[in-house]
C-alpha cells in the first residue's frame, strides 16, 4: 500500500466546499466589541487634532480612543516588530499600531472605536473629525530618491539601508571589461495587492481570570504572532494562545504582525471584553501589506557566443511607510537568484531600501524570487536578440552544468544549489508546446501582416525555498530559525495523531501529512488526524511561508515516524521474543525474518505501549515521538514555462492563448496538490504581467482600492494549462522533496512578458512595462511606428 505519489483528493475539501469551515469571522464570543478604525485620508500629514466627541455619542459606542490616548494607556512595550534588520545600521522608524503626531500613509490608523456592532463601529468611525496639517507625500521610489523629499519628517533621508552581495568586485569589473555583448535593462515591479479569498480578521477573547487572552487570527504565522505580540505588548507569552482557524489563503499577506492584531489583543486584555475586527476588501488595500514595489536595473556581460561572463544588479526597493515583519528582507530573498539557472562566473547585487508614503510592502507569493526571475529571464531574451540566437539557444548555452544533472553545485551568489537538471526541462517544454510549429505560425502571420500577431515566451526559472537552514537565516540577519517541529503519536485505538508546527492556510497539509504518515506507518490515510494552527496544541512551530512546509515540516513528520517505528521495533522484539534487527517492518506490521507467521501490527504495539504491561525495562509508556528538523540546505525547484500570446495590434489587447509549464519540485507527495499549486501560481504571475497594478497617484492616494478597479483575473481569462513534471529529488532531505507553493508565480510573469515582447519585436519594441494593458501595448506600437 503506497499512497505517496497518488492524486488523493484533499481531506479538507468537503468541509470547506460545503461552508463548514470556520474562519475567524465565523467565530463569536459573548459580549464582543467591534473595532472601527479611523484611518488617515492623507498620505503624509501632521495630526493637528482628533475630535471624538460626536463619535462617542453614537449609539452602541463603548469607547473611542485616539492614538495619543492609547499610548497613554501603556498598551505597548515596543513598536510593532520587524524581524529582519538586514544591516546593522538599517533605519527603522518606530511603528506603533496607531499613529500619533504624524501619519505616513493613507489608511494608517488614527483612532479606534469600540462598539456593539460592526455597523455602529463603522458609523461612529465616520464621525471622528481629524484635523490634518498636510505635508508633501512621497508616492514613488523616484520621488523617494529626490533630495529633500521626506516620507518621515524626523528622518534625515528616505533611505533605510543599502545591502550588497558582491563576492568579488574585481572579477565582476573584469568580466564586464572583457565582454563582447552588454545588456542593460531596467524593469518596474509594480505594487500588487495580495487579495487572498478570505480578508484578514482578528478576535481576541480574554479568559475568565488570570490575564489569559486567546487570539483568533486569519494568520499564516500564529507561532510568530504569539511570540512577537508577547514581546511587543509585555503580555507574558504563556498568557497568549494564538489560533489560526480555517484560513482562506494568504500568499504572504497573512505573514505579519499587524496593528489590528496588536490592538485587539491589548484592548481585550485591558478591558476584559472580547474585541474583534474584520477588514473590508477596500480596507485591505491599506490594512494589509502589499507586494513587490521595486525598480530593477540588471546588466549582463557575455562573450561573443552569448555565454555569460557576469551579472550586475541594482534594486531600489519600496518599503512603504514602515518596516513590517520581513519588509526589508524581501529583496534579499531574490538576490541569490539573479543569475537564474545559468553558469555566471561573476556576480554583484546591491539594493537600496526606500521609505515612501504608501502602504508598507512585504512578502507576496514568491517574495523577491519572482522579481529576480523576471529580471534575468527578460534580460536573457534581450541578450539572445543581440547575439542573434533564439531564446531557447541562449538558455542552453548558459545552463549550469551544461544542462546536465547535478547535485550540490556552488553558484557565484554564494549558495549551493541542491540539485538540478535543466536541459530536459527545456526539451520537454518545447516539445509539449510544439515550438517549431509555433514559430512557423508566427512567421506566417508576420508575412501576412495580420492584425493579430503571435508571441512565444520562455522562462527557465530556479527558485529558492524550503526556508530554511537556521544558520543561513542567522547569516542574513533574520530574527528566527528555520526549523520545524512535529509530533507523531499512535493512539491506544491504533489511529495516528500528528501535531505539526506548520500552519496551513489552504495548502492541504492535513492530506499531505496523512499520506506521509500512512506510508511510513503502513496505515490508512483516513486513520491519521493532523492537529495544527493552535499554539496550545502545537506549541512549537515556525508556520507556513516560503514554500517551506513540505521540505521542512513534512520531513520532520517523516523523521518522527521513523522514530516511532524504531521504538515500536523494540517493543515488538520484546513482546515477540526476537532480536530487533531480526524484525522487518512492512505494511504496518513487524514480522520476524524467515517466520512470516510471526507478525505484530503496529496498532497492537501502540495499545501495548499504552497499557505498559509488558515493555522493555526502562522504556517510557506510549508510542509517541517528536522531531525538530533543521534542514541542511534550501531547496531549489526549477522549471521551464512557455507562454503563447496573441496581440491584437489594432487595440493592444493581449490574449494568453496557451500556457505550457514543466516544473520540477523533486519528489511529489500528492500530484493533485502539486498541480493545483502550479495552476494558482501561474495565475498570480500572469496577473502581474497582464492585470494587477496598485495604482498610486502623486499625492499617495490609491486609485483602485477595490475589486471593481483592481483587476484580479478569473478562470475566464485563463487558458487550460498544459502541465508536465520532471523529478529531480533534493539530496538535502530524506524525502527528496523541494517545494511548489510559489514556483508557478516565479516562472509565469517573465514567460508572458517575453511572449508579448516577442510578438512586438518586428516593431523594434524590446520592453513593455507590467501590467501589459491594452492601452500600454497600443501606445507602444503607436510610438514605435511614428
Amino acid at each position: 500500500m503506497t499512497v505517496v505519489g497518488t492524486p488523493l483528493k484533499r481531506k479538507e475539501d468537503p468541509k470547506l466546499l460545503t461552508g463548514e469551515g470556520k474562519y475567524v469571522d465565523d467565530i463569536h464570543a459573548p459580549g464582543e466589541l467591534w473595532m472601527g478604525m479611523v484611518r488617515s485620508t492623507m498620505a503624509h500629514a501632521t495630526i493637528d487634532g482628533v475630535d471624538t466627541s460626536a463619535a462617542a455619542a453614537m449609539p452602541g459606542v463603548h469607547a473611542v480612543y485616539t492614538g495619543a490616548q492609547l499610548m497613554d494607556m501603556g498598551l505597548w512595550a515596543a513598536p510593532l516588530p520587524c524581524a529582519w534588520p538586514v544591516t546593522p545600521d538599517m533605519v527603522n522608524p518606530a511603528h506603533y499600531p496607531v499613529a500619533t503626531g504624524e501619519v505616513h500613509h493613507v489608511g494608517e490608523i488614527i483612532a479606534v472605536v469600540l462598539a456593539d456592532t460592526r455597523a455602529q463601529a463603522t458609523d461612529a468611525a465616520e464621525q471622528v473629525e481629524v484635523s490634518y496639517g498636510p505635508l508633501p507625500a512621497v508616492a514613488s521610489i523616484a520621488e523617494a530618491r529626490t533630495d529633500g523629499a521626506k516620507a518621515h519628517s524626523e528622518l534625515a533621508s528616505n533611505k533605510s539601508y543599502t545591502w550588497a552581495l558582491v563576492p568579488d568586485p574585481a572579477a565582476l569589473d573584469a568580466a564586464f571589461a572583457a565582454a563582447t555583448h552588454h545588456v542593460t535593462a531596467e524593469f518596474t515591479q509594480q505594487r500588487l495587492i495580495p487579495t487572498p479569498m478570505e480578508p484578514r480578521g482578528v478576535l481576541a477573547v480574554p479568559g475568565v481570570a488570570g490575564g489569559d487572552v486567546t487570539l483568533y487570527s486569519s494568520s499564516q504565522v500564529p507561532h510568530f504572532l504569539k511570540i512577537l505580540l508577547a514581546a511587543t505588548t509585555g503580555i507574558p507569552e504563556s498568557k497568549i494562545r494564538a489560533i489560526a482557524p480555517a484560513v482562506g489563503g494568504g500568499f504572504g499577506a497573512k505573514l505579519n504582525i499587524n496593528p489590528d492584531e496588536s490592538l485587539a489583543l491589548t484592548l481585550a486584555h485591558k478591558l476584559g471584553r472580547p474585541v474583534r475586527w474584520t477588514e473590508t476588501r477596500s480596507e485591505a488595500a491599506f490594512s494589509t501589506h502589499q507586494g513587490r514595489g521595486q525598480l530593477q536595473r540588471i546588466e549582463l556581460a557575455a562573450d561573443a557566443d552569448g555565454k555569460l561572463l557576469g551579472v550586475r544588479v541594482h534594486l531600489d526597493a519600496d518599503m512603504g511607510a514602515y518596516m513590517m515583519l520581513v519588509t526589508p528582507g524581501v529583496p534579499l530573498l531574490g538576490s541569490f537568484l539573479y543569475t537564474g539557472v545559468y553558469a555566471v562566473p561573476a556576480f554583484g547585487f546591491t539594493c537600496d531600501g526606500w521609505f515612501t508614503n504608501m502602504t508598507p510592502t512585504d512578502a507576496y507569493r514568491g517574495a523577491g524570487r519572482p522579481e529576480a526571475s523576471y529580471a534575468i529571464e527578460r534580460a536573457m531574451d534581450i541578450l539572445a536578440a543581440k547575439v542573434g540566437v533564439g531564446p531557447d539557444e541562449i538558455r542552453r548555452r548558459n545552463y549550469l552544468a551544461g544542462g546536465e544533472k547535478f547535485e550540490n553545485l556552488a553558484v557565484p551568489s554564494t549558495l549551493v544549489f541542491d540539485s538540478g537538471h535543466y536541459g530536459p526541462s527545456l526539451d520537454l517544454a518545447l516539445d509539449k508546446a510544439g515550438y517549431a510549429d509555433l514559430r512557423a505560425e508566427q512567421a506566417r502571420r508576420r508575412a501576412a501582416g495580420e492584425s493579430k500577431q503571435l508571441g512565444i515566451g520562455l522562462c527557465t526559472y530556479v527558485e529558492i525555498c524550503g526556508l530554511a537552514p537556521s544558520r543561513a537565516l542567522g547569516g542574513l540577519g533574520f530574527g528566527s530559525g528555520g526549523w520545524e517541529h512535529a509530533v507523531v503519536r499512535l493512539l491506544p485505538t491504533g489511529k495516528a495523531e500528528v501535531v505539526s508546527g506548520s500552519t496551513p492556510h489552504g495548502q492541504g497539509h492535513e492530506t499531505s501529512w496523512s499520506m506521509i504518515v500512512a506510508d511510513k506507518l503502513g496505515i490508512d490515510p483516513a486513520d491519521v488526524t493532523v492537529l495544527h494552527s493552535d499554539t496550545a496544541i502545537s506549541p512549537l512551530g515556525l508556520d507556513t511561508y516560503g514554500s517551506r512546509s513540505l521540505a521542512v515540516g513534512g520531513v520532520a513528520i517523516a523523521m518522527a515516524c521513523d522514530k516511532v517505528i524504531d521504538k515500536a521495533r523494540l517493543i515488538a522484539a520484546h513482546q515477540m521474543e526476537a532480536n530487533p534487527e531480526d524484525l522487518e517492518f512492512a505494511e504496518g506490521a513487524f514480522t520476524v525474518k524467515g517466520s512470516p507467521d510471526k507478525t505484530m501490527p503496529i496498532q497492537a504495539i501502540a495499545f501495548g505501549a499504552f497499557l505498559a504491561h509488558n515493555l522493555p525495562d526502562g522504556m517510557e509508556p506510549n508510542l509517541q515521538e517528536q522531531m525538530t528538523f533543521d534542514p541542511s540546505n534550501f531547496a531549489f525547484p526549477f522549471g521551464t514555462h512557455v507562454a503563447v500570446v496573441e496581440v491584437d495590434e489594432t487595440t493592444g489587447q493581449v490574449d494568453l492563448l496557451r500556457y505550457v509549464a514543466v516544473d520540477d519540485c523533486g519528489n511529489q507527495i500528492n500530484p493533485l496538490i502539486v498541480e493545483g499549486q502550479i495552476h494558482g501560481g501561474i495565475v498570480q504571475g500572469v496577473a502581474q504581467a497582464l492585470w494587477e497594478d496598485a495604482a498610486w497617484d502623486a499625492d499617495g492616494n490609491l486609485r483602485n482600492p477595490s475589486l471593481l478597479d483592481y483587476l484580479v483575473p478569473s478562470a475566464a481569462e485563463m487558458p487550460s494549462f498544459e502541465t508536465a513534471f520532471t523529478v529531480t529529488p533534493s539530496p538535502a532531505n530524506p524525502l527528496g522533496v523541494k517545494g511548489v507553493g510559489e514556483a508557478g508565480t516565479i516562472g509565469s510573469a517573465a514567460a508572458v512578458i517575453n511572449a508579448v515582447c516577442d510578438a512586438l519585436s518586428p516593431h523594434g519594441i524590446t520592453d513593455i512595462e507590467m501590467p501589459a494593458t491594452p492601452r500600454r501595448v497600443w501606445k507602444a506600437i503607436q510610438e514605435a511606428n511614428q
Partner: protein, 279 residues
C-alpha cells in the same frame, strides 16, 4: 463596505412602490436586483434613507408579444432575457447583450429595468435599447407614459424618470430579420466595457427598414447614440468613413483603463468592426 443605516420597505405592488416613492421622494431608492444600488450603498456613495424593495413584484417579470413590439417586464432578469426564445427571435441583439452583462451570478439577480433606470453609461443594456430604438414605460401617481430610449438618459446616472415614477416595462421594436453586432472591449470577462458598441440594421420586416442604429458604451456621461456615425451612414458614407466619426460628440472618460485618446481609438475600431459584421 458597510452601508449606512436605512429603512427598508417591501413593496407588495407597483402601486405600493409608487406610493412609497411619493411619500419619501428623493430620500427613497427602488431596489430590484440590487446589483447597481447595493455596491453604491456599500461604498457609501449612495445613502438613501429608504430602500423600497420591488424584487418580489413577479407580475413585472414577463416577455410578451405586443404586436409591433416586444414588451419585457422591468423585473425580468438578464438571464431570462438572454434565454427567451421570443427575445432571441425578435430582438437578437437584446438577448445577446443580456448575456454579456457581468457574470452568471449578476445575470441571475440583475433586472433589465434596474439596469436601464440606473442609467450607467458603462452598462451594456442601455446601448442595446438605444440602438434598437426602444422605449420604456414609466408609471407614476398620475398614470403611465412612454419614454423613448433616446430621451431616457439625461445625465450621469440620471434619467428622465421622475422621483415618483416606476419603470414598469421595456419595449423594443420586433425585428426578426434585423442584423446586429455587439462589440464589448474589456480586460476581464466580468467587467464593464472600457468601450462598447451596440449596432443593428433593421430588416424589411421593420418599419424603419434599412436604417442603422449605433450606440456607444462608456464614451460619455450617458449611454449615447453614435449620431455622427448614423447620419454618415444615412447619407451614404462608407462603413470605414462612418466609423472614423465614432467619437464625434462624445466626452470619453479617463480612468486606469484608458484615456480619451485610447477610448476614441477604440470607439472607431469597434464601430468599424460592428459595421463590418452588419454587412
Amino acid at each position: 463596505m458597510i452601508p449606512a443605516s436605512f429603512d427598508y420597505v417591501e413593496a407588495a405592488s407597483a402601486e405600493a412602490a409608487i406610493a412609497a416613492l411619493t411619500e419619501h421622494g428623493d430620500e427613497a431608492k427602488l431596489m430590484a436586483g440590487g446589483h447597481s444600488l447595493i455596491p453604491l450603498m456599500r461604498f457609501r456613495l449612495a445613502t438613501p434613507s429608504v430602500v423600497v424593495d420591488i424584487s418580489r413584484l413577479s407580475d413585472l417579470s414577463y416577455v410578451r408579444d405586443g404586436g409591433d413590439h416586444l414588451a419585457i417586464g422591468a423585473l425580468t432578469r438578464h438571464c431570462e432575457v438572454e434565454a427567451s426564445d421570443l427575445v432571441k427571435s425578435q430582438a437578437g441583439l437584446l438577448a445577446h447583450v443580456a448575456g454579456q452583462v457581468g457574470d452568471p451570478q449578476v445575470r441571475h439577480r440583475g433586472t433589465i429595468g434596474g439596469s436601464l433606470a440606473h442609467g450607467d453609461p458603462a452598462s451594456d443594456l442601455p446601448a442595446a435599447l438605444l440602438a434598437l430604438g426602444g422605449s420604456v414605460v414609466a408609471r407614476g401617481p398620475g398614470g403611465e407614459r412612454v419614454i423613448a430610449a433616446s430621451d431616457l438618459f439625461t445625465g450621469f446616472l440620471e434619467t428622465a424618470l421622475a422621483p415618483d415614477e416606476l419603470l414598469t416595462e421595456v419595449r423594443v421594436p420586433k425585428g426578426p430579420d434585423t442584423t446586429w453586432s455587439f462589440q464589448k472591449f474589456n480586460r476581464r470577462a466580468q467587467d464593464w466595457a472600457i468601450v462598447g458598441v451596440a449596432a443593428c440594421r433593421n430588416g424589411a420586416g421593420n418599419g424603419a427598414a434599412g436604417s442603422t442604429g449605433v450606440a456607444l458604451i462608456n464614451m460619455g456621461q450617458t449611454p449615447m447614440l453614435a449620431t455622427a456615425v448614423q447620419s454618415a451612414l444615412a447619407s451614404g458614407a462608407s462603413a470605414a468613413d462612418a466609423a472614423a466619426r465614432a467619437a464625434e460628440g462624445t466626452q470619453p472618460p479617463e480612468d486606469l483603463n484608458g484615456d480619451a485618446e485610447y477610448r476614441t481609438h477604440l470607439a472607431q475600431v469597434l464601430v468599424g468592426r460592428a459595421l463590418a459584421e452588419l454587412g
